[in-house]
Symmetry: none
């Protein structure tokens, strides 16, 4: 899930209430959440490949529902050392040994056992739907279906973008910004994605957020945006090379369709990093986008764009009612 | 990685020697390895998605090289409880908070912090090669670069396609074929990929191989191939629905660029399956290919197609000599 994934469906109301809470000094900082106060209701998701889990529940003596997302940290180079995994403190429990192969479980020093933890509180039903595991389908969005189904849906949902404007206006996360082009038409802000620790090359993940506020997604792009797109690509690559010593040829630079929030943004990840959502049905390389528009200025007005939807997404019902996709009745794991 | 992965390249000789060592009472059980005695030489691999790492080094006072493979454990349901992550012992360190979202690192009780550990000792050069990571780059292949660099390379390499012709001619794997269209121009064969067990829906993977022998890859496709491509899509979907009860909307149907062999073939995988090479820089959805050619018949003759190359690939040298990509000099894993 992308950075914005966590943010894209915050309701206007929720934001307002929180703003008041903050003004009253009733925000998270003053009222620290503690995991020991969490009462589990349900495990929503457990990805054994990526080692992530998502649970829903409540905090004792607090109203509203909370989501907690856990993710085991990737290995850090510094921890593969005498102070980390190879320290005297590390315990080794043997499972079995066979020939030259031994299987063990090791228990390293507690200081390097951190688990990435994201708390969304209070969480909405939409957040819960987002993190629940479910049936996924590909839909082919023609320009007509975009106009008739997708666009009206987006406009009705009115995803709250206040957190984006906070960053662009210098109100939030300013210490995290690594490049800032203030041009109104071709400007953008580059900052580390929430999923990245800002240090480990293997998981490098930055986000470019454009200053223009009227570009919702890939669908809106045409030849007038070529200077902006090229600027993001070139300045983004340059900044990342200078600051993180990762050359442009080792970056995957792409847009999601559908995006998690409808304010144009571009992902920069380390090529070898298997970031979420980098699959062919979801990600469009910026270089390909630029090439498509160069060959055919109205490419994204004419193209049929595939996208994935989950049965729980509200847009699924719209495409289902329109006969574009069918719900799964019986989800067997064995095909014969 | 599967158990078998670790074992497949042990030399006969090595096995024999170890057998003798064991008979002499010189095996692992009698001479317990300890992580504190490990002297790191190099980090071979760090998969930040699967949270695995592989290091090579030596054990103090022992001859020979050792490989250690670490893998973070997936979350266990029992640990998502008051005795585990939600216990009093768990510490929560705040990274930052913004609106309803909080980012933390939690330090759960040490008993649930086990890390799967595999030790291969003594390890051979083949083991080391197997677990070493390669530097990867993206190259932008313009039509000119295709003609000047890629195509001559392909023709020179003369990839052997006999195994493909054996399938098409009915000489091999005939019992595996699930659909066979014998038309010369629009025909193809559909069969399970070798990576699929043929049973588990979650990992469903089939391959369509066209009967025409002169289509090397995506680059060769134009409007004359539209009937063939649509036939593969439609008959492939129909067969998979009938035989495996997986609807077309849950299939990812795509071509690789560059492909692993230069005889046109199309991949069918279950949408939720994270099959290898399904990333945006490598995979092209068949529906998008059909749409591109429909909009612009010479799309694949004119487009700049990105592809990934490893520094070890022979084509890397060609693109490097031509100034299209630069080898990594210093591969630090930490960016600052």
């Amino acid at each position: 899930m992308s950075d914005g994934c966590l943010k894209d469906d915050v309701s206007e109301q929720r934001c307002k209430r929180l703003k008041i809470d903050n003004e009253n000094g009733n925000n998270l900082n003053d009222n620290q959440l503690e995991l020991k106060d969490f009462v589990l209701e349900k495990i929503l998701n457990n990805n054994t490949n990526r080692k992530t889990a998502c649970v829903v529940g409540k905090f004792k003596d607090k109203s509203g529902v909370a989501l907690i997302l856990f993710e085991k940290n990737a290995f850090k180079e510094n921890d593969l050392s005498e102070e980390g995994y190879f320290s005297k403190e590390t315990q080794l429990k043997t499972f079995f040994e066979n020939d030259i192969y031994g299987n063990f479980e090791c228990f390293p020093p507690s200081t390097i056992n951190g688990v990435k933890t994201t708390i969304i509180y209070p969480a909405t039903d939409k957040h819960i739907a987002k993190f629940s595991q479910q049936e996924v389908h590909i839909v082919l969005e023609t320009p007509e279906l975009y106009k008739e189904l997708t666009l009206p849906h987006l406009e009705k949902e009115q995803f709250n973008l206040q957190w984006v404007y906070n960053i662009l206006e210098g109100k939030s996360e300013q210490d995290r910004i690594v490049h800032d082009n203030k041009s109104e038409k071709e400007g953008f802000v580059l900052l580390p994605d929430l999923k990245w620790d800002g240090l480990t090359k293997e998981t490098l993940y930055l986000l470019a957020i454009v200053r223009q506020r009227d570009i919702k997604s890939l669908r809106d792009l045409d030849e007038q945006h070529l200077p902006l797109l090229k600027r993001i690509r070139d300045e983004g690559k340059k900044t990342i090379l200078e600051k993180y010593q990762v050359p442009g040829s080792q970056l995957r630079i792409y847009l999601h369709y559908q995006p998690s929030f409808y304010h144009l943004h571009i992902h920069f990840t380390y090529l070898r990093h298997e970031a979420p959502g980098i699959y062919a049905e979801k990600s469009h390389l910026l270089d390909t986008v630029i090439d498509n528009i160069t060959m055919m200025p109205d490419y994204y007005k004419k193209a049929t764009l595939p996208f994935t939807i989950r049965e729980m997404d509200s847009i699924f019902n719209i495409y289902e009612t329109n006969g574009q996709v069918k719900r799964i009745q019986n989800a067997n794991l064995i095909v014969k």
